[in-house]
Symmetry: C2
Subunit: 525 residues, 2 copies
């Protein structure tokens, strides 16, 4: 009996519901797998049944936890150390104050409508959970420009456009591969007809001439730009492989956009990243206590007691979303294994420097996107929206170890003034004569931001990338009795808001199952 | 004597002005060449001195001509056949009527705020002239999403994500090249240390294992998407080269984004492409006569007489921006060579089909961008803005010979209903079960749009691409006495609004020099 594709789908649909049908469609190649289903998380209605939960931290993980608990009928208290919600999703505006440990006080001086996303700035379009909350709470989104081929790549003291670095690499690689094929070095790799077809494609793909030579291409830019009537474009002379890859740092921007979290389309909330946190906050506001740093986390029988400023909040359960570094220092009665695991998490301590300026980069054809450099500032981010507006906030340094072996340490050990100077100098190299237009600098060193002390756990998110997490990761996930844990560091989407949200979902499932178990026991008693 | 870079710049700056200094900086590798200077075009103030110019056509070339002439003190009359300006920059909204030669009447049925750019839809960030007009007339711009790695590529009956097609190609190419290097087939191509360094880079760039094998990578997508706690991502199995390139058509999307006019960042006016034309129109409105098709173009001594509907407009000069196909049919006394050249221009007759729908594509992680197929509809465009809004306009067919050898002819010879059916079917393959949500279809076949009859001249814009233009191109540029010509077809930016604008600038320079010559003669007389 032959079963048609349609029959398979209908049958699977009957038995396993829409999710199973989708999985089957994906198996049959009828649909592209997506992460969309994750956005549908919800706890069973009224399952909270009045039980209480104290949530530590009003970042994304804490706010998501509080919202979902509240929806399910739990009583929730959120304790937040700062005077604002959002945690690392921190957007700086106007005259906002920037206080950092062991750093001079800084005050922002941005014009109306200008803002600086000191923390996360972009959302990949497959991060369905955080996007789902944005949608639910009507947070308007716009496109974040991650990739822009007109920005400068400044390596080894020379600035080339991104487009030249990208497409000259393609040309040079294609040229080498064509040479190998033409010299019959790859005859064993594929059937001859396939190899011939691929060789033909290669000429087209890598802009090779009939002899397989790469002589440059307009994809890499022009020296004379095409115009009206007889003004023909003249393609820029091609770079050699050595010029394209002068140093190890120059390799990174070549793969940056291939990282699945960095691929277009990327999104940002209109007006600042903290708009999503605020959208959730609006739902749970009455249960959030700001300016309430936690000073102790204790178990009392099967309940929890959280101390703060001489007071205490007791609850049936706790969801703790604090970064490991901070959590480890708060007096607690966690297991020795948990305490050891908290100590071992390696934290990324990145930094950003921002300026406000008139939009001089647009005259150079730059609208959003990233510039790259092997200078200590590593990365320059242009604003993704407000094109042709009067002014914009340009991030002159985003230091996280992208292109420079010794950052962020080498950068963050410098005085703020020096960090600003380096950022200015880099922008000057990209836009000669323009750095004098940079105003209102502001440097955020995350390792020194109180209640964050870093941007997250430095372990990979990729498949098979469990190695660096080691045994400590499983220990971090283990509840301490009625206390469960959440945060980006407890996900395979580390360093992303999505990771915070999905880790919260897992923590919520644990709370829910414990609550159900207790209800069962109570009923049996 | 050694001259420092700075000295060179200062000296060049003194003698040649800022432009020369910029050119020198580019020579010294201190700055990336840009096309920005082209945006500074202006005719000498008051140089028109009351002379009259009749402009034929109120598309971009005509509107730019009228505006610049008016600024320089010319008396201008613009004659436009249609009841609207913008020409091919046509945005369809609400209940707009769509009349096409030999086609049934169609009426749009779009909701408030929805629109369909039937003509141009995107602006590259280096098209400084058209962007300059947008800036000057305060036309708000937003990002156009050209490239989006989550869209589907539907070739040979199978849908894969763009990200998988792009990064599996990279992996497979890298694997072949690594094999050639590891087998010493490329030892002669580069010094050994450079080759070693490149081989190391290749492993990183193309996601190869230690043995140089490509086993797939998360860049190509996941079968299990990463999540919270222990949910590790599982990368999708890699495709073979044969699956990545099943047909010639599948090669095109692999190079699409490398075309310099298609590289990010791309832009669009908020609310529809015609906003730029309207921005210019607002400046010259009182001099534009709509509903005025031209029926004759005559020379009277050194002046021009343009006939329309029994009337005539006389002027010192004319700027004719009509497409060659139309111009050729209007009675005129052009040279035989010009008439022959007009007949020979090969015109692209592309087509688009649009629908309005709820944004079902966002659940599949698609926010803007293009899907590709070897079906007759070739290309699907998702809206670049209004993310998470209730509805959007999706272009279900953009047929221009991208991926299918026989389009646009094979598509445009079909009845409208059949064009819509093919578009629906293609969207169904990309988003199973969702095509039933597509409403209010509208098909624009440019070959049959009155007063356009195509989207432009089909000759390449690339360097050295003068071949297909042949001798006819020079003839098309040649003024007929006081009559000069403009339009995208008279530029090396053919098919783009930028081409229309820069060709107008060249035409204006010709008018200006003729006017100056006549003024000189008059003064001498």
């Amino acid at each position: 009996m032959t079963v048609s594709r349609r029959e398979v789908l209908l049958r699977v649909g009957e038995v396993g519901g829409a999710g199973a049908a989708l999985a089957a469609m994906q198996m049959l190649g009828l649909s592209i797998p997506t992460a969309a289903a994750a956005a549908d998380f919800t706890l069973p209605k009224s399952s909270g049944n009045g039980r209480s939960v104290v949530v530590l931290g009003a970042g994304i993980a804490g706010l998501v936890s509080a919202y979902e608990l509240q929806q399910a009928g739990y009583r929730v208290t959120v304790l937040e150390a700062r005077d604002r919600v959002g945690g690392r999703a921190w957007t700086i505006r106007g005259k906002d104050r920037v206080i950092q440990n062991d750093r001079p006080f800084q005050q922002a001086n941005f014009s109306d409508g200008m803002y600086f996303n000191a923390g996360p700035a972009r959302i990949p379009s497959w991060h369905h959970v955080i996007l789902g909350y944005a949608r639910r709470f009507n947070v308007p989104l716009e496109t974040f420009i991650n990739s822009h081929h007109a920005t400068g790549w400044d390596f080894d003291g020379k600035v080339h456009s991104g487009r030249q670095m990208i497409y000259d690499l393609r040309g040079r690689m294609g040229e080498l591969l064509a040479k190998a094929i033409d010299q019959n070095a790859l005859n064993a790799a594929m059937p001859k007809d396939e190899l011939d077809a691929f060789r033909q494609f290669l000429g087209f793909y890598a802009f090779l001439d009939e002899k397989g030579v790469y002589r440059g291409n307009a994809s890499s830019g022009y020296t004379q730009w095409p115009g009206g009537y007889t003004i023909e474009g003249k393609a820029i002379d091609p770079l050699t492989l050595k010029e394209i890859l002068p140093s190890r740092g120059a390799a990174f921007p070549q793969i940056f956009e291939s990282i699945i979290d960095m691929q277009p389309t990327m999104l940002q909330p209109v007006g600042g990243m903290d708009r999503i946190a605020h959208g959730i906050y609006e739902q749970v506001k009455t249960n959030v206590r700001l300016n309430t740093p936690v000073t102790g986390i204790r178990r009392i029988g099967d309940r929890v007691r959280v101390e703060h400023g001489g007071q205490a909040t007791e609850a049936d359960f706790a969801i703790v979303t604090l970064p490991p570094t901070l959590l480890e220092r708060i007096p607690n009665d966690f297991s020795a294994a948990k305490k050891a695991a908290l100590k071992k998490v390696v934290i990324l301590r990145s930094a950003k420097v921002a300026f406000e300026a008139p939009r001089f980069w647009e005259a150079d054809g730059v609208y959003g996107g990233l510039a790259w450099t092997d200078r200590l500032n590593e990365n320059v981010l242009y604003p993704s929206s407000g094109h042709h507006g009067a002014r914009g906030v340009i991030v002159g340094a985003y230091v996280a170890g992208w292109t420079h072996e010794n950052t962020p340490e080498a950068f963050t050990k410098l005085p703020i003034a020096e960090q600003i100077r380096i950022s200015r100098e880099s922008i000057e190299a990209l836009h000669p004569g323009k750095s004098k237009l940079l105003e209102s600098p502001l440097a955020v060193n995350w390792g020194q931001v109180p209640y964050s002390e870093g941007v997250g756990a430095l372990w990979g998110n990729g498949p098979g990338d469990s190695g660096p997490r080691g045994d400590g990761y499983a220990e971090l996930l283990r509840p301490e009795g009625p206390i469960v844990f959440a945060g980006e560091h407890l996900s395979y989407l580390g360093l992303w808001q999505e990771g915070s949200a999905v880790s919260a979902h897992e923590a919520l499932k644990l709370v829910q199952s414990m609550a159900a178990e207790r209800a069962g026991k109570a009923a049996a008693a």
